[in-house]
Assembly symmetry: C2
Homo-oligomer: 401 residues x 2
């Protein structure tokens, strides 16, 4: 026994971890958050603009439904594709909000949008396959592809395309091993949407190239003007990722969903049986309360609050000298150029946090495309705190005026 222990540390250490481990990057925003919390613990006042999480506790009707589900003993495994009532409720949501018929059988509840990404990578991506992704974009997408020995093919997109991967750019970057494109509308970190025409053109490109189109719609509902168009308004052959985390304010419950083409449903469910067994049963019963008029009213009030924050913060950041060429349509973010101040966004963010108590996320979290000259602001705190953040930044950066 002791003999085993004695030789183990060195012997086992000689077998390296899988190669992908070296290629999957940490989620830097978590590092910023960790450091911010450490500073708070020392008594510093930190303004949190780093994490992409609504600052509102889950709406009361959902909380109450969760408590009731527990009282009712909803503590057992449930169906691998989700409880039928919730799949029907999501189907009704598409009818009500988009005027689109989506059969409940095509809807799978997942453990967060993260779970939906895992299922999609498992279903579609063979070793060596690539999918086109906008850079900047949500960093975990490419890591899910890497997990299954595929690759994210990062396509640099800039303000000239509202930071979106459109059909023209996608066609330029489409390679022999490309099996499709994964886009987000509204997008993280830029808050930009794809128009109906852009989505339609992208879909046509994918059809032409026999590729899959995956659209991340987790920020739907959080748009501050016209509602974002769903790809499901255009085709029933795309994959859609959605989530109860953002508009529905249920981050810590870990519930999302995906919509798949009909021919993928049986295989998706088989994968879910093996990879998840089940989602949180109580959480799913709670989520049913997200689709009542009473709860929707709460969500829409919160959305209006986010709109006010965007409308306050955007001109103020521009006044300070941040470069935000286009007013983003949705999500919780402002993606801002810092070239007036720095060419090292990591250092810039660290200084802002350490010296001024303003936590923001360096561009490096979202890709490689000009990431050193960009940062992301998440307006997930009150207007008063945003004002304080602007005051602090103004002291060090000055204003343009």
């Amino acid at each position: 026994m002791t003999k085993s222990s004695d030789i183990s540390a060195s012997s086992l250490a000689t077998r390296p971890f899988a190669k992908r481990v070296g290629e999957i990057e940490p989620f830097r925003v978590v590092e910023v958050l960790t450091r911010a919390k450490a500073l708070e613990a020392k008594g510093h006042d930190i303004i949190h603009l780093e994490v992409g999480e609504p600052d509102f506790t889950t709406a009361e009707p959902i909380i109450a439904a969760g408590q009731l589900a527990l009282a009712n003993g909803e503590t057992y495994y449930s169906q691998a594709a989700g409880i039928p009532e919730l799949r029907v409720a999501i189907s009704n949501h598409y009818k009500t909000e988009y005027g689109v018929d989506v059969a409940p059988a095509r809807i799978m509840v997942t453990p967060g949008a993260s779970g939906a990404l895992l299922l999609i990578a498992a279903l579609l991506v063979d070793a060596g396959d690539g999918m086109l992704l906008a850079d900047p974009g949500y960093p975990c997408n490419r890591h899910f592809l890497r997990l299954v020995e595929g690759e994210g093919q990062l396509v640099p997109v800039g303000p000239e395309h509202r930071y979106q991967l459109n059909a023209k750019v996608a066609a330029e970057y489409w390679q022999d091993n490309t099996i499709g494109a994964m886009v987000a509308s509204p997008a993280n970190p830029t808050g930009e949407i794809l128009t109906r025409q852009e989505l339609s053109d992208l879909y046509d490109l994918c059809v032409k190239n026999k590729g899959h189109l995956v659209v991340d719609e987790i920020y739907h509902g959080l748009t501050y003007g016209k509602a974002a168009v769903s790809i499901l308004e255009i085709t029933d052959q795309a994959f859609v990722i959605n989530s109860f985390s953002k508009y529905f304010g249920m981050t810590g419950w870990r519930l999302g969903w995906l919509v798949a083409p009909e021919n993928a449903v049986v295989e998706m469910e088989k994968l879910a049986q093996n990879l998840f067994i089940s989602m949180s049963t109580m959480g799913q019963h709670a989520a049913l309360a997200a689709f009542t008029p009473e709860t929707k009213k709460i969500f829409d009030e919160r959305r209006d609050e986010f709109a006010k924050r965007r409308d306050y913060l955007l001109p103020e950041l521009r006044r300070l000298g941040f470069d935000i060429p286009h007013q983003p349509a949705g999500a919780l973010y402002l993606y801002a150029g810092i070239s007036k101040f720095s060419n090292d966004s990591q250092q810039f963010c660290m200084d802002m946090l350490e010296k001024h108590g303003v936590a923001i996320t360096p561009g490096l979290d979202f890709g490689r495309n000009q990431s050193n000259s960009h940062v992301r602001f998440a307006y997930t705190t009150s207007i008063e705190r945003l004002q304080e953040a602007v005051r602090r930044m103004e002291k060090v950066l000055g204003g343009k005026d």
Copy 2:
């Protein structure tokens, strides 16, 4: 728009799903359950012996703690490795129950044991790598390996080794691309454990071959005699998978944990950030209530009830002619040979369900080794219902006496 839709179904259907999809099998127990529920809906009385889930609702103190966590607004993301209090509680559990020091930093909370399996596959397995697995065994293990383009290397094990993968057999089956072994103690579907000596020998073999040892301990606590030995009593260099589902009775909450060697912790956490972001925050606060003396008393009463069921069902099945050569030490299962009755366990199970209302799981769910001559009984229903199942089976199978 309509143009896109018209050509889409045929065009996209020409791109096949990833190759792994054809190799990952459905969880057949789910099919049995689905058919059983359909029969119940038609008014049939079905005795459920198919699903490996305790038939007890989650213990009241955990329910209450979950409700309180919701009232307290614990609805936000939490740390990717789990909330610190829960990691400390699990560390204390190892001290109390096993007398082993496991630093909280080595413990990661996961979305079910399923999440732990995903992290381990992602961390350890390169494309083309294999891990040794006992056949029969938990079917999803090999599918997690396949997910990341590795493979489960099934090792047939029989009653002569109490259906366990021991060091001698593992050494015979170790191949050039084998990077380790994954075992379970107590095991599903056999309920058999690995002794301290067997675990120690297996570990020595892995060290000798520079391989990783992964031990699934999710049925720990559910042993009906001596407690199962944890690999952590032998080495701090193995990976351990555990769960709140079985002994702790929290299946539908989707919470598990893993214990990793110290040098794996940083990489594991990075993977968890990307693959999960977070686990259910409310669920983790609820799980803290699993470690009080009051709750442990409930768990141990339930364990005693499972022991009574095993002690009733085992001799009765033997009397009916099922072949169960060895009394299993734990878990919720009896793995039974049916060669006296049939050489087609799928058909046998279907007949039992359709004609006699007894739902059991065919051996094919657990591998290929003599799977057609075996079935699994889960004693996850009351003694009275087990008695009724025996009466029904006796009518058709007769008794040996």
